[in-house]
Amino acid sequence: MKANELHPPHWPRRVLRWFHPEETLEEVEGDLDELYAYWYQRAGKQQATWRYLLNVLSVLPPFVKQRQRKNKYHQPSLIQPSMFRNYLTITLRTLAHNKVYSAINVIGLSIGLAAAMLIMLYTKDEVSFDQFHANNPHIYRITSKSITPEGAENVDGNTGHFQGPKFSAGVPEIRAFVRYKADRRDIKKGTEVKSYESFVADSSFFSIFSFPLRSGNPKTALNAPKSVVISEKMAEQHFGTTEALGKTLLVKDSFGEGNQFEPYTVTGVSKNCPQNSSIKFDVLFPNVVSKQEIESNENWFNVFQNTFVVLQPTADLKKVEATMNRIYLADAKEAIKMMAEKYGDKNKVVYAFQPFTDMHLSKDLPAQNGLQDSSNPMFSYILSGIALFILLIACINFVNLTVARSLKRAKEIGVRKVVGGGRGQLIMQFLGESFILCFAAFAFALALLQLVLPIFNELSNKALSFSYLFDFELVLGYIGLFIATGLLAGFYPALVLSNYSPVQTLYSRFNLSGKNYLQKGLVVLQFSLASFLTIATLTIYSQFNYLTNKHLGYNDKNIITIGKSHMSRNEAKLLKEELLKSPHIVDVAPKNGGSWGTIAKVNGETQQSFAYETVDATYFPLLQIPILKGRNFSADFPSDSTKAVLVNETFVKKVGWKKPLGQVVNFWYNEGEKYTVIGVVKDHHFEPLNAEIKPQLFTMKPSNLYGKVFIKIKPGTETASLRHLEKTYKKLFPINPYEYTFMDEENIKRYEAEAKWKQIMLFGAILTIFISCIGLFGLATLSAERRTKEIGIRKVLGASVASITTLLSADFLKLVSFSFIFAFPAAYFAIKEWLQNYPYRIDISAWTFAIAAVLSILIAFFTVSFQSIRAAMSNPVKSLKTE
């Protein structure tokens, strides 16, 4: 039997051809065929096939040894100074010769790098929040979780007077505790009174938290009741010097009786709090708990401040939490029983710990109530996402342009190879080029960063500074980023370019093989990202517009609000009379300050919680809030002030009244306090539109103090009205701080977060589109150059400028259109998810998508057509003459 009549199985042979080193393939394949025939003769087909498989396997990598080439020349080391000089010369020459290409790459990469660096800076700041305390990670905040009998849970980061001292007395693992809360107080300087955001803390404050004192004893600074610790900034502001130890501040306790200013001694001047701290105080008072407050065990349920504890490093959290809850149940037993009897409150309370450093980025228990700058981690994710997009798109530009342009450099590569340049050297050269470009981009990025940092700080509510850039970890990060970008952008082109066969390139027979799916794919990816961001931006814009332009149910135009806490009926009356003396002021309506919430029995049994507002009869007409049923409060009915209430529509709906007028509302804390509903007002958005309308109830109860005054002025009289207002206020309330706001401005301020999102997304979208487009521009330029001859011939044969422009643009526009297939669904789901956060929101409309699509196509068209038209208009004689 002849060997060539026997056919070893086909597919192992194919595997062999694929994987076996090319050099020894022929001989090995022949040997194996011969052996197959030998085995076939000796042991039959099955045996032979089996052994053939096994033996093929034995000559596949990694088992097979590679035969060294006989004709291998000595390759000098890749790191040769003289070659380096050559690479550098060539690189600089190439870059100088291709200015458009170099500019596109450097601009793109520097924007991408700057964005990435900025986000690293931001993230570093976020992560380092509150990390500077020496007692970390053993500082915890006591949290309370109340569970209703139905099982609904509500977590709260706030606690009261008792949790700190009682738990720390009963649990040996708790080394120390401190209670901390915000408390606005008025401080007098000369004759001027200003209201300050102040804070109150226990004397252990400075031993638990690492806020260094410039002067004063940290152990005793907060011991005396009439002492105060101020920051350098405050000392500078108030005394003009940081040497303020022992000086006195005149302070009025906002909750204290009377209008007395009392002297407080400065017992410490602290360094200004770091900007990445949840605790930021300028004025810090000692915590004074009255005897009454300590004696009533009901204060277990009065929560209004943050309590922090320091645990022993060895403490077992679960155990400590269990002990804590045992102490609570034992100590508050009577109080719990009483609550259940008196108010029917059957909620169960469970205490737990939250690590202090988790607070800043927490969603459930954010840093609130005197703690500042809690941050939504979503913000970090989205910012990082955008930065990554931008950097990625810049790298894609680099890859695309370099590969597309490589056709022009094919000859150079061919010559290098012919004179003995190895693949490694070529890879080195092209990677080196990408690194040089990347380095230039890096330098620009630093300059750019310096430029945009103030804007970014404004947007992200941060105080990041350029000097943070020199933080060791960040510098390492930047170096990493630089190398990663250089590799990302340069690696693929280097591999492709170094693989060109010299024979083909030197005979000019060279063309990019295949249909260049990679380049097309990358363009599609770029524009998918860009359209995605465009759609997101448009949506955020419409939602923001909706929020700021939605009719609130009342008229906020030409209304000035001023705050004055604890204003009695008489004071309000006096103020109104005085203010109305000015012809510019239309009307004045006082209201309680802040938000009060309470519960009442309606229909005899049901408990209904609602926002409890105290107003007067002018309030509804002044704000133009319609009364749907019944009537407004009126001076004609003297009983209105004590016996009547108005409710809003939501209240009626929640309670389920068919005929609301005449219904009785009984306040839960007082059996005797019963009101009759005399009217229903239209629902209006008193809270930001991020929240649903709550049930509201309005009274005129005389004992409730006012805290806020609405003043309606004639349009265009702002200056005169404000002058009159300030004069009157200062005359009537000389020791109260005077602050005013325009209500419509105040209402817009509520959407600061949305406004910031809007800006950030807009910047992101513009940058991505811009960088994508410059990439497209580069590709179009190269494609037009490559097709010069084709265009020349077409023109000679009579093609019009328009038809040639269409021809050249169509390819790219197809890709851009194709990108919508990916961008639309992704954007749809993303914005749908985002809009879920708003109870009052726009509908997702097809228009958003259509506008984004048209926008992308138009921008892409302008980008591409610029080059296309130029190519189409060029004189065919020029391009064809050289042939």
Partner: protein, 112 residues
């Protein structure tokens, strides 16, 4: 003298190449191994060993002419080099000397 390192399998393969004298290539070496030593090894082992022997300079190789038998594929013929021959001789000699040093009774005791 430069020591020559030759593994046991390498030595056997080198011997086969010397024995086959101008007829040694992958197939014949494999077959001879199977026939004369009873060892069945994969082709890859033989192939790799031949390449290694060549790298060490014990054998040299040349691509032979194409034959119809192998579907027109050429075979690589191996030949022992002078260094290879010398290495084999040295090994032989070393073994011989060592044999001489063994006490005669030892062999009998182990049943030989």
């Amino acid at each position: 003298m430069r020591r020559t390192y030759l593994g046991e399998f390498e030595e056997v393969v080198l011997l086969m190449v010397a024995i086959l004298d101008g007829e040694a290539y992958g197939v014949t070496v494999s077959q001879a191994l199977e026939e004369h030593t009873g060892r069945i090894v994969t082709f890859g082992t033989v192939h790799n060993t031949l390449i290694r022997l060549e790298e060490k300079g014990f054998v040299s190789s040349q691509l032979g002419g194409a034959t119809n038998e192998r579907g027109g594929r050429r075979k690589r013929i191996f030949q022992a080099t002078a260094l290879g021959n010398r290495a084999l001789q040295e090994i032989q000699q070393l073994r011989h000397e060592l044999w001489q040093m063994m006490p005669p009774t030892k062999l009998r005791l182990t049943g030989l």
